[in-house]
Structure formats: C-alpha cells, structure tokens
Assembly symmetry: D2
Homo-oligomer: 236 residues x 4
Amino acid sequence: MNITVWNEFRHEKLNAAVAAIYPEGIHHVIAKGLQQEGVNVQTATLDEVEHGLTDKVLRETDVLIWWGHKAHEEVEDEIVQKIYQRVLEGMGMIVLHSGHFSKIFKKLMGTSCDLKWRQVGEKERLWVVDPSHPIVAGIGEYIELEKEEMYGEFFDIPEPESLLFLSWFAGGEVFRSGCTYSRGKGKIFYFRPGHETYPTYHNPQIIKVIRNAAQWAAPIVGPQLQFGKTDPLEKL
Amino acid sequence: MNITVWNEFRHEKLNAAVAAIYPEGIHHVIAKGLQQEGVNVQTATLDEVEHGLTDKVLRETDVLIWWGHKAHEEVEDEIVQKIYQRVLEGMGMIVLHSGHFSKIFKKLMGTSCDLKWRQVGEKERLWVVDPSHPIVAGIGEYIELEKEEMYGEFFDIPEPESLLFLSWFAGGEVFRSGCTYSRGKGKIFYFRPGHETYPTYHNPQIIKVIRNAAQWAAPIVGPQLQFGKTDPLEKL
Amino acid sequence: MNITVWNEFRHEKLNAAVAAIYPEGIHHVIAKGLQQEGVNVQTATLDEVEHGLTDKVLRETDVLIWWGHKAHEEVEDEIVQKIYQRVLEGMGMIVLHSGHFSKIFKKLMGTSCDLKWRQVGEKERLWVVDPSHPIVAGIGEYIELEKEEMYGEFFDIPEPESLLFLSWFAGGEVFRSGCTYSRGKGKIFYFRPGHETYPTYHNPQIIKVIRNAAQWAAPIVGPQLQFGKTDPLEKL
Amino acid sequence: MNITVWNEFRHEKLNAAVAAIYPEGIHHVIAKGLQQEGVNVQTATLDEVEHGLTDKVLRETDVLIWWGHKAHEEVEDEIVQKIYQRVLEGMGMIVLHSGHFSKIFKKLMGTSCDLKWRQVGEKERLWVVDPSHPIVAGIGEYIELEKEEMYGEFFDIPEPESLLFLSWFAGGEVFRSGCTYSRGKGKIFYFRPGHETYPTYHNPQIIKVIRNAAQWAAPIVGPQLQFGKTDPLEKL
C-alpha cells in the first residue's frame, strides 16, 4: 500500500510554537507513525511543484492523507479536480482537522463543511460510538486530549455513512469527529483532532486511528465500472 | 408553500414527438399536477432571463423541481451557486430523471452522478422498498410504466439517506430510483422516471410521488445556524 | 390522529419528590402538551387491565408514546408482541428516556440497548445535528436542561437512520439522544431526556420535540404489503 | 480466524436432487470454499448436540455462517440467545438465503424479515451497488445465476447500513440481496442466493463474496465496553 501524507506546511515555517512541536512538519510525524511493513509512505506539500501531487504520484497513491488550514485557496483547482477523480476511481482519502474547509473535502461532500470553533486549548474527549468498526481497533472507550481547538456543531456535512467518534468539549459543545463516506469507488474518513499548536499527532492513539483508517480506506479490486449507453442483457 | 417547477424546455420545441405529449412543456404538466389548496406553483425555464430563477424567485421558493437534459452546460454557474446556497439554507429540491447530470445535482452530491442508459422504450417497474416513508403515501407495492428509458447501476451517487424505490427493467438492469438526501437545512429527493418521449408525467401515481416529495421537502422552521468563532458555554 | 401516552406510573405513587413534579403522572403532563386541534390524546398505564393497551386501543392508536423504568419486566410478553405487530403495520412509536430498556424497544432494535448512567442532576445540552428534520422544527441550536440524569455512550443501539440530537453532559460524557428508525411500515423515535425527578416534561421545548415526533411518526397510507408465494409478473 | 459454517442439513438427507448437488451438505461446500491460509474452518449442524454450537465452539468462533430453511423452529431458544450474545460481543455473522427467517436473524433485525418468494428456477442477476466495499472485491459489475429461487420486495428488514447487491429477477421482481448491519460489536451480512436445489454455492463468485464477507465480519480488538452506573470524568 502506498500512502501519501499531504501537508500545507506553512504554520511550521512561520510560527515558532508550531515548529517546536513539529520541527519537520506535521506530515513528517504522521508519515513516521504510519510506517510499517508492507506500507510505503511518502509526503507532499503545498509549495512543491504541483503541490507534490503530480499525475504519477496520484496514480500510485492508494490513500491520501490531507492536512491544510490557512492556504486552502492556494491549492490549484486543476489539482483538486485530479484528486477528486482519483477518489471516484478508488483512492482512499483521510481528511484531518482543518482540512474540513479544503476545496477537495467540500467538493466531495457537496456542503459548506462549516462549523463552530474556538482556539483556547480546552479538553476534548473523543467517545467511540461504533465499536464494531475496524478504524477503532485497539482504541479504548474514548481518547482524551488535554488541549485542543474546539470544533462544535452544527457541522455542515452530509449524514455520515458511519459515525465512529463523538467529541465532548469542556466549553460545552459536541462534535461528530470521526465520519466515513464513500464516493464512487473511493472511501473517505474525516477525523477531527489536530490543531497545529498541540502535539496531537504525537499521541499514539491518534496515530493508531489514522493507521487503521488508512488500512480501511485502501482501494479494493472492485468492479470495472461502465457508464453510458448499454445494450440489453435480456431479449426485448 | 411555494413550488417552482424548472424545465429546460428545449425538447418540446424541437421534437414533434415530445411536443405531442407535452405541448406546453413538461413543467406545465407537473405544475398542474401539483396544484392544490395551500400550494402556489409557478414555473421557470432555461431560456428566461436568469433561467427564470431570479434572486426574488429563489428566495420565495420553498421547493424547486428540476428537469433538464441536453443543455445542462448552458445553466450559468452563478445561478447554480445561488440554488446551492438556497438548498443549504433549507429550500427543498426534487431532481427528476435526466436532471441526475445537472450541475446542481452533481454539486450537491459530490460525485459524477453517472449511470448506464438505453433508450428503446422498455418496461420499468418501480418497487417500494421503504413503505413507512411519507413520499410513498398512496402508492401500491410498485408503479409500472409500460415504456421508459432505462437507467442502470452502477449509479454514481453517495449512499442515499433513505432509499424508497428500486426499478426493475425488462432489459435486465436495476436502479435506485427514489433517493433522499439532506444538505445543510435542505432536503433533496431524486426520482428517476420521466424521459421526454413518454407520457410519464401524465401518470397519476408519478405525480402523486412528486406531490408527496414536495410536501416532504418543504423547509421547516429549523435552528438559526451559527458558524465561526464562538465563546464557551461553560466556564473554562 | 390518535396518540396514546403510556406510562409505567409507579414512581409518581411511591416517591413524593416525583409526585410533587408530576402529581397526576408523567403521562398526564405529556398528554396535555400534545393536545391540539385534530389530535386526540389518551393515556394508558401499567396497572390498568392489559396495561391499558387492549386490542381496540392499539388498533386505533396512530402513535404510541412510552415511558417506563423500574417495572419493564412486568409488561406482559403478549402485550409486547401486539405492540410490535402494530409497529410493523405502521403505528408510530416514541420511546422516552428509560424506555430504552423496555421489552418493546429492545425487541424492535435487536440489541441490548444498554448504556452508562449517573443520577446526580447535572447539566445536559442537546445539540441539533440534523437541522433539516421535521422533528427539530421550532427548536434552536440546542436545548439546555439544568439538571438531568446522565446517559453515556456506548449506547448499544443499531446505527440510527437519522441522528437528530447529541447530548453534552457536564460530567464528561456524550450521548446520541434523538434517533429515528423504521421497522416495517412503522416509524420509531427515541428521545433521551426525562428522568422522573426533574421537571423535564414541563419544558416547552421538550414537549415541542415530542409533538413534532408524533406528527412525523404518524402512519401513512402506504402500500398493502404482500408476503409469501407469488406469481411472476413477467412471462417466464 | 475461526469460521464456523452452520447448516440445518436436512434437505440433503431427504431430497435426492439436493443430495446430488451437495452430497456432503451445503456446509461442506461452503467450508471448502473458505479454506485458505490463516483461516480455520469447521462446521456444525442442527442435529448435533446443542446444534454443534457448544459454549466452547461459540466462544472460539470469529465468524458464524448460517444456512437454515425448514427447521427454524427446531433451533433451541437457549442456543439462539447464546449466538445473539456472542454477536453483540463481536462475533461476525453471515446469514444466507432462507436464513432470513431464522430465529437469530429476526432477533437481530427487530423485524419480521418476511418477503415474497417463487421457486421455479428463474434467472437472477445480482448488481453491485457499492463498488467501494471490501465484500465486493474481485467481483464484476454483476453476478448472474441461471436458475435460482426468487425473493422479492418488500423485504421486511431494517434499512441496511450498507447495501451492496440488488437482484434482478426474470419474473419481474427486485431484491436487496447484500445488506450489512452492526449490532453491538458484531458485524452482520445477509446474502440472498443459495436455494438448495441449485448449485449456487459451487459458483466461485458466490464463494468469493462469502469469503470477503467473513474477512469483513471478523471481530476487531475494539473497546472493552462498560455499561451501568458510572462516575463522572469531570468535577461536578
């Protein structure tokens, strides 16, 4: 399996507090966490040529992981269109945290993907609400994060196909924090945590979830889909 | 309740066979079928100014019904964006037949909305698979249409929130023919039948379904949604 | 529409604190809240003959509302079987609070319906997560209850067809508090709040939700379902 | 992974036509088809002691496959209760064909699981409608079976969590033929084909689906679920 971890990689260069937590970038920490036998992990970032997502990279990527925040608008529409096409063809996609507002996530969802937020560093507790799902394998009843940005409902997404995590926030809000979708032959997982000023991606349970999600989202050798004009299979 | 029936209204002007069935346009027949006490029905068509969908019309429309086929590309992006915004705000939307390939439906779904098709006039039988849903009120176990265009799976749509009708086609295919979705505060119903060369919208059961769907899709006085930065509700 | 509000009606007789809040029983307060033009509301309680749910009552009931807690085991299996049959035939059912552990709810769900709980009187905030649904009409972004019993995840229910409310609890838990299901021709709504020692059913927003739910759950004139051996519709 | 294939195993002993197709029983053919490295397959049948499903067998079974038809009533309630408990604890379950009317399936679904049927040996075509799902890996756009018993809608089951196959029948009906559910920590797959008088389980594509389903339904090391009275996680 080939995983590509994409990161905007701007906060880490501009904000010393972020750089202290993720000196080589958020993508680097996630990529390291995903390395295991049989898995090939590479990274790509906004400021590379074609954002690091050339046709070759996309064609060979089984699962694309996405972290973006302040520069969503700088992602070129042409690249977004190519990612979209690859998802419909079967590429898995894991959208993290502020990636909820990325062009590609909004395009795949068909909604605004807007939400409430507050960045004061409060406690978040992610409760598992589907204990049968492979993405929660190895996780306890909840994951607790001492300090995170708050995201609150209403989260303007389509009804998830499976809802895996619900977040409780100290400030009084809740959030649908782990949501699965399918689009064409592709599987998508949105996972809420991961504000850049907190060491969330150093948390082994968070990495475990992303790792499970990558396994789950990997493409299957599914049917060769045919569209358009078609002859009858029965005599008419 | 204010319903606006939108029709591309081109086939009826160019094709005598279609004009024979729908002399005043498909929209006219549907609009007539929807008239009842407490419901105000108007129509709009592609070739009107702003496709008949001015800001005022859209603002006052509770449910928009959409039939388009050969001129999807002529619908201006700006109007599509306005319809999209209104759906998220609560306007109901019923997309009919070849409207599956309209810009607005693809934008709301986040998929290609592609499918198989065959236009030879074969038998279609729409089976009810959710007999608890208000959209099937007054319908029997199935609706039979002697001649229709075939649409076949795989239909590239997101998993429906509720699946109400499954079509059987004489040529050997099946199709998810009645699908509901929600997007933001808006409710959407896709309903398959209605090729322009057949008198499908003269069928009282088909009209009954569209009528039920309009009632179902009408906006509710729901919560005033707030997005963006928000203060805590609890002391932190 | 005929609504029957069923209540175990034991706490009110045995516990002065409960009687102070609901002197004539929880069912009485709910029934009063549901009265409006075109709606006929009656009540039934455990200690009546056949628990007040005779064949005639059940046959004429469009929506059955259920509150039970300490005497689930005293509800006779034969009556449970009759209610079950009526739900499959189209009777709507609204299960409140501790009714999660009633025989009828467990039978309809196919799961244990178990959960976490704590009865110390803490704050609950029910967030709306489906602002398009008729059951939340007239409700704001959330409902706040100063004191309630806590119910926490994992709540062992099947994946809801629509998830309408998520609860935040001061003690750190979350809960799927408003869940819809369909079973046969019947529609079911589970709504969490309503511990007997708090005036929850005097809250106009809570009553509003139950009222909306009764409208939503009312049976439709759906298809006459046929089961068993059947002749082909096409020549074989 | 430990798979147990359970079969009623009566038709094969009483009907020469069935015995000709499945001389050692349906369970034997399915079991053989599932054998592969890392998978341990055993069988169990109705007439064994405790139907072959002792506490030890159930405790060690990861996925239980179920074929029954004419003797559903002979399956003891106590064993059904044990299977049910094991599903909630995480054991996967694959229910085949006429198993739709088994005690265990009805108990897990919460509905009658009734349907239409016709046994004349007509053509069935199972269309894939979720090409992203691991259960359809290696399958084309459809599976065609020359002769099968017909099952027709309305199929009285809860709305599937994922709908994978839709059947077309020559006689004019359709059917939701591949449905997934979760119950507690357990995953369930219902798969329609497999009348005893046809060689359906000798079809490599049918076996492929069952094989995929067993992989999908295998339990994960999920959260240790806690129910009942619980202390607050936050200071109240």
